[in-house]
């Protein structure tokens, strides 16, 4: 059960530190191309709890990391849309035909045709809620605390730097071996990030 939760959190990029407070290895690569190749290689080595960080989405990275299509966001958006449509229909029907029926020139209390615009608008509105809230939820955001923030270099991940992070929670993780592999893959800077706030270069 706890591994299942761990894996789910890992899907969202939330990795747990190990008993020694080691969070993981943070390797910096020179450019998106090198990062893409490194991610591919890291996956081929059998790692699963790893992530890449870049200032912009890198084309092809999802395949390189073996993540597949982000279909969950689409599902949540779809259900959001359905909810909005149903809510709008029920709201207009119940208020006009049940709770406060108003006889206007003997017309029916409720008709679908004039209800279409609001059904449409609320479908869009709730679908957008589904997309945004779903995306943040699937990403585990907001996430104010992240051990990676201890690294000063990591600030560049939102500017012009490209990082690969292998989490200590991965079964394959071993500080020396993983570090050697990352170096082999062309990382030009390596850091060991710990949950107690220390960063070893």
């Amino acid at each position: 059960m706890s591994t299942l939760i761990q894996d789910l959190k890992a899907q969202a990029g939330i990795f747990e530190s190990d008993a020694d407070q080691v969070h993981g290895l943070l390797a910096e690569f020179p450019d998106p191309g090198a990062l893409l190749h490194a991610a591919e290689a890291v996956r081929e080595e059998g790692y699963r709890h790893f992530d890449t960080h870049s200032p912009f989405p890198i084309h092809g990275m999802d395949e390189a990391m073996g993540l597949g299509n982000a279909s969950a966001v689409g599902v949540l958006t779809f259900f959001g849309g359905i909810t909005g449509c149903v809510v709008a229909y029920l709201l207009q029907w119940w208020t006009a035909a049940v709770d406060y029926p108003l006889n206007i020139s003997g017309k029916p209390f409720f008709a679908v045709e004039p209800s279409v615009p609001i059904m449409f608008e609320l479908t869009i509105l709730f679908a957008a809620f589904g997309a945004v809230a779903g995306m943040f939820a699937l990403n585990g955001l907001p996430r104010p605390y992240n051990p990676l923030f201890y690294s000063d270099r990591f600030k560049g991940a939102t500017d012009d730097r490209f990082f690969l992070h292998i989490a200590a929670s991965d079964d394959e993780f071993d500080v020396e071996d993983s570090a050697a592999m990352l170096q082999r893959l062309g990382a030009h800077h390596l850091e060991l990030v710990k949950d107690d706030g220390t960063v070893d270069a």
């Binding site: 090198a34 999802d62 957008a128």
Partner: protein
């Protein structure tokens, strides 16, 4: 204002060198990633350092306008909406004209952010942030008018389905209520869309922040974003879906606004052409407003390399296209009035063009149909002064379009004894001018505190952002990616990466 202005002074006084580690820097500069950082620098610094003097001057003027608006709205509430020029037979005066005008302006932002995104128009990245901000502020300016036009502004919540002590519900069969839902949904979805786009850029600002509180505040709004690819994956999907949702939404909003008119039985309003005609007009006026704002912004903030003349030219082409659609709609309306054989309909249109409001009609025709045709000339549509002037002319024309539709259709109804002539009062003029003050106040605050260009998106469309850019050495452009937006600083050095890449895959 005074205190918030102080926040960013620390990091900006000396142009920030890449945070933290000077040691690795020379090496990185040589590696040619300079240009990504340049984008960050070019955009972020305006949200960090003191604003230029022109900003303060503009802000003072705009804020005076906004205060004028607030004061006059208080005056309107206190005295009743009779202080506006609305009266029988013209019950919908300037407030509704202004409402449609402002909602229309908003539409270009969504068009740029959503429709152009779906069509993979990469040039949108330079302007979409500012255009979306413009949308939100324009919709705020729009919502003021119907809110106060109801007269009893304290009862405006009656338009929402909130259970109340009267056990009454809104009348969902009314187009005016559809409008409440359409415009407020539009406002909420636009804001979400804008915010989602902002999160990565706010994270950039957070990571650059040197001031404690500035960092905390930005950390709050950037939600702990780290540029994780697991996040980007869902993020891009959500962004695509939002674009897909916003596209039908934006088309529906102005259609619903046009229903306010078209569903009535007033000659001159009761036409099926209204929804597409209103939508085209909205895009037309909105793009003109984007051009107006962008010409000023790129000049003052030195963003000419990001918001290039090519971007502006593309917008001018859209203005030309939509302007011609609108002009075609004007002529079609006339044809339909004649072809319908309905005397009242025919009269409404003849009265529009040759009656007491002919002056307004011909201003509209000139500004919307005639002058935009100058953009057929490549030289003129690439000329900054020409496009600046024309974009303002277009918005004058589009305001008059709404004036013509609203006022001329109402001022002579079926009974000649109740004919009248509408004249605006000083309160009409004051509140309208004030709404521009509010709009520009909000826009200037946006320029001051928020990254005005979507940095992550601009970086993402640069050739260096394509991982395969580094595969074949040389200074290869990424195939099929169009022109590079910003020339790579040291493209030849990409060769140096090849070995890294070869190692990795081997």
């Amino acid at each position: 204002m005074e205190s918030s202005k102080k926040l960013p002074t620390d990091p900006s006084e000396s142009p920030p060198s890449p945070a933290g580690d000077g040691a690795a820097d020379p090496e990185r500069l040589v590696k040619g990633n300079l240009s990504f950082h340049d984008i960050t620098e070019m955009v972020s610094r305006h949200a960090e350092k003191k604003a230029p003097l022109a900003w303060y001057v503009a802000f003072a003027v705009s804020l005076s306008g906004a205060l004028l608006l607030i004061g006059l709205l208080a005056y309107v509430v206190w005295n009743g909406i009779g202080v506006w020029g609305n009266n029988q037979p013209v019950g919908w005066g300037w407030p509704i004209v202004n409402f449609v005008f402002w909602v229309g302006i908003g539409h270009a932002g969504t068009l740029i952010s959503a429709i152009l995104y779906l069509f993979r128009q990469h040039w949108r990245t330079a302007i979409n942030r500012a255009a979306e901000a413009m949308t939100i502020f324009a919709v705020i300016c729009a919502l003021i008018w119907p809110t106060f036009h109801v007269g009893r502004v304290w009862a405006i919540y009656w338009t929402l389905p909130i259970p109340n002590q009267m056990a009454m519900w809104p009348q969902f069969k009314s187009p005016l209520l559809w409008d409440v839902f359409a415009v407020s949904s539009y406002f909420i979805v636009s804001t979400l869309f804008w915010y989602v786009g902002l999160v990565p850029d706010l994270a950039t600002l957070r990571d650059r922040a040197k001031n404690f509180w500035r960092q905390r505040i930005l950390a709050f709004f950037s939600l702990g974003w780290t540029g994780s690819n697991r996040h980007w994956r869902n993020y891009e999907k959500a962004y695509l879906l939002l674009a897909g949702l916003a596209t039908p939404l934006v088309l529906s909003v102005h259609s619903v606004v046009s229903f306010d008119f078209a569903v009535s039985v007033i000659p001159g309003w009761h036409t099926t052409i209204f929804p597409p005609y209103f939508v085209a007009g909205a895009i037309f006026s909105g793009f003109a407003m984007v051009v107006t704002l962008m010409v000023i912004t790129r000049e003052i903030y030195g963003l000419k390399n990001l918001i290039t003349i090519d971007h502006l030219e593309k917008m001018n082409i859209i203005i030309l296209v939509t302007g011609s659609i609108v002009g075609f709609a004007y002529i079609t309306e006339f044809f339909m009035a004649w072809y319908s054989g309905v005397e009242y309909e025919q009269y409404a249109f003849i009265n529009r063009a040759f009656g007491p409001y002919a002056w307004a009609y011909w201003i509209m025709m000139t500004c919307n149909l005639v002058t935009p045709q100058l953009f057929w000339s490549k030289r003129l549509r690439r000329s900054i002064p020409v496009m600046f002037a024309l974009s303002i002319v277009v918005n004058i024309g589009m305001w008059f379009e709404r004036f013509v539709i609203t006022i001329t259709s109402l001022h002579r109804d079926f009974l000649p004894s109740s004919w009248g002539y509408f004249t605006a009062t000083w309160v009409d003029i004051g509140t309208f001018v004030g709404s521009f003050g509010l709009f520009f106040t909000l826009f200037l605050l946006f320029l001051r505190f928020v990254p005005m260009v979507a940095m992550a998106e601009v970086k993402g469309v640069m050739p260096e952002a394509d991982p395969h850019h580094y595969d074949h050495g040389g200074n290869g452009h990424a195939e099929g990616d169009g022109e590079p937006y910003i020339k790579p600083a040291e493209p030849a050095l990409a060769e140096a990466y090849r070995n890294d890449g070869a190692d990795a895959s081997g």
